[in-house]
């Protein structure tokens, strides 16, 4: 699969996919999208990178330990839940506020996003860890 055509296309498509996955993640708590779908999309983008450049070649410039992403994601998601206990509410209670930013205008800032980021990291960590291990075998 490491032809010039796939490599050229991958260079264009992978950043787009990553941006789309992040936008899915950020809108996820009250619109279609969410940590899981965004994470799956991110994982497909990276696996496209692995397939088009070959696992050994892509390891030279891009070689993260995906299992750590899994661990950090689970930690973040659980901590987001327990954080609301520390704030005096029940587990996973969420709250939101509106923020005025210069370029973007009014932005909704929700605490559910922390949990979603945790899920996002768990999904990309889990999927890409399996994908990479199976590729290495």
């Amino acid at each position: 699969m490491t032809t010039l055509i796939t490599q050229t296309i991958a260079k264009v498509v992978v950043p787009l996919c990553v941006f789309l996955s992040i936008s899915l993640l950020l809108t996820g708590h009250d619109q279609p999208g969410g940590g899981f779908i965004g994470g799956v999309m991110f994982a497909t983008a990276i696996s496209l990178l692995y397939i088009s450049f070959g696992l050994d070649d892509s390891k030279k410039f891009f070689n993260p330990d995906w299992s750590l992403y899994f661990g950090f994601g689970l930690l973040l998601a659980t901590a987001a839940g327990i954080g609301s206990i520390i704030a005096g509410y029940n587990l996973l209670r969420t709250d939101y506020t509106y923020l005025q930013l210069p370029l973007f205008g009014e932005v909704e800032l929700s605490s559910a996003i922390v949990f979603d980021i945790g899920v996002y990291l768990v999904v990309i960590g889990g999927l890409l860890f399996i994908f990479k291990k199976m590729g290495e075998d």
Partner: protein, 511 residues
């Protein structure tokens, strides 16, 4: 703001948090071990606290995310709290055992994080008040236990290929069962419009009063019998168990056999006595029949095995049948007896699996034909195994005697003469198979070839201490059973009065 109000959710959240920490601390195995033991002790203390709270103040309900009955509700009634307490005890002791028993390579990679996920899954299954959430926790349990099943022991006793085969069967059969569960939950949700178990019970109760209960809820109920029956390994659905339990490392077998198959019985109680309360009485003979068939199949199969852990695994199938006839009989006394039986089997069978783990650790084989005369070198293990088999086959003064006596007494006072007769006859098979394996392992002539292996491991003090704790529990229950009987009778009354559960979750004004 009292942090102890959140005890019920800490039982699930702490293991998840620790599981993630375990992944991040993989380069430091000593920290992992100490942290895991510490967390198990904390969870044990919290579960005792939770039980005492439920015992004093009645049912505790907890809304996750403050969504009320529309979100996920955690409920601790006496049944859930006692099951959580039981699982905390067993998982703590099995963890103590596994520190020196599991191969270091397995422990350093995934063992401890999966162990915590398993604890989270168990506690979540027992505490959740939401049917779909129950499904999710079943999946967590399944995946975590699959990962633990293929962990390696220090003695290379089971080849990895056998483990993979057993895991494959376990995974596929349980995934089919959870698929059934998903279909059944979807059907219930489509009919009732809610996933909260208390709300479901309420709505089915209203439909029943008005005579508008749709006929397809009864086939749905049958699907649930298949699902929970598969989890509990009752008669036609028990095929995965005799492969999966013996190939797992011994502490994991202790958890699988001690707690994990009880999840099916727990789900069955919830579903039969809470959600479909009073609508499934036509199934009562079927449940008793399936329980008896399970006893017969399990007890007879256990007699002919040559593998120590296979004897115990087949025997677990038989024992879950006794729990199911207790549940099927449905009086307060019989239900209490089923719970006592369940608790006794959890402790005694876990202990037997741990003793067999000690034997395996020392000898390096599970095949009883190659073992003999062990009492001359390992008298302590012989004593522990004897206590375990006395308890499991119901001899006084152990907890097994109390369990069997109460169950048979409940059956006779309820008028179930023929099922009890069959159960008594087949408990003799238990006695026979257990004492036969004890005799084959510890008596007879010493086989020369068993001590010649190079990788003989000594049993460490932490391994033996968990056995001693279990022995103490067995004898305490056997000699002073009144508190346990009082607790289980109270629990059974609470189970048979689902209105208490419903009132605790859905206050009258929001119905």
């Amino acid at each position: 703001m009292n942090i102890l109000e959140h005890t019920i959710v800490f039982m699930i959240a702490i293991p998840f948090l620790v599981a993630s920490l375990m992944i991040l601390t993989r380069p430091f195995p000593e920290i992992q071990k100490k942290l895991n033991v510490l967390v198990s002790i904390v969870l044990l203390i919290l579960s005792v606290y939770l039980f005492s709270q439920v015992w004093q103040n009645g049912i505790i309900a907890y809304d996750i995310g403050d969504w009320g009955k529309y979100g996920i509700v955690l409920v601790a009634d006496l049944l859930s709290a006692s099951m959580v307490l039981l699982s905390s005890i067993i998982t703590f002791l099995a963890l103590l055992f596994s520190l020196d028993y599991i191969d270091d390579k397995s422990q350093n990679t995934t063992y401890h994080s999966l162990y915590n996920l398993l604890i989270a899954g168990l506690n979540g299954t027992f505490l959740t008040g939401d049917l779909f959430n129950l499904f999710v926790f079943f999946e967590i349990l399944l995946i975590a236990s699959c990962g633990l099943l293929i962990a390696n022991e220090k003695v290379e006793i089971t080849p990895s290929s056998h483990k993979m085969e057993a895991v494959y069967k376990y995974l596929i059969l349980n995934i089919i069962a959870t698929l059934f569960m998903l279909v059944a939950i979807a059907s219930l949700y489509g009919t009732l419009g809610t996933l909260n178990m208390a709300d479901m019970a309420l709505r089915i109760g209203y439909m029943n009063e008005n005579g508008t209960l749709p006929w397809h809820l009864i086939p749905t109920a049958l699907l649930f019998i298949v699902v929970f029956g598969n989890k509990a390994a009752i008669f036609p659905l028990h095929f995965w168990l005799p492969d999966a339990h013996p190939t797992a490392p011994s502490p994991i077998s202790a958890i699988l056999s001690g707690i994990l198959i009880k999840v099916g019985a727990y789900g069955f109680i919830r579903f039969y006595y809470l959600i479909f309360e009073g609508n499934l009485e036509i199934f009562q003979p079927i449940i008793i029949f399936l329980g008896l068939a399970t006893i017969i199949i399990g007890s007879i199969s256990a007699v002919g095995q040559d593998d120590i852990k296979k004897v115990l695994a087949y025997h677990s199938i038989g024992q879950i049948g006794y729990v199911f006839i207790g549940i099927g009989m449905g009086t307060v006394y019989a239900l209490a007896a089923a719970l006592i039986y369940l608790i006794n089997h959890a402790i005694s069978k876990s202990m037997l699996f741990l003793v067999s783990g000690c034997i395996v650790h020392k000898i390096g084989t599970r095949d009883m034909r190659k073992i003999g005369g062990l009492s001359s070198t390992e008298p302590f293990l012989g004593l522990m195994f004897l206590v375990g088999i006395m308890s499991i086959s119901g001899l006084p003064p152990t907890s097994g005697f109390i369990a069997k006596f109460v169950l048979f007494d409940a059956g006779i006072s309820g008028g179930f003469y023929i099922p009890i007769l069959i159960a008594v006859i087949f408990s003799l098979f238990t006695l026979f198979s257990m004492f036969k394996s004890w005799q084959r392992i510890f008596w007879g002539e010493i086989k020369d070839n068993i001590f010649e292996k190079e990788n003989i491991h000594q049993n460490s003090k932490t391994m033996l201490s968990s056995l001693v704790i279990m022995t103490v529990i067995i004898f305490v229950i056997g000699l002073y059973a009144e508190p346990l009987i009082a607790i289980t009778l109270e629990t059974a009354e609470q189970i048979l009065d689902p209105q208490l559960y419903i009132d605790a979750i859905i206050p009258g004004e929001v119905r």
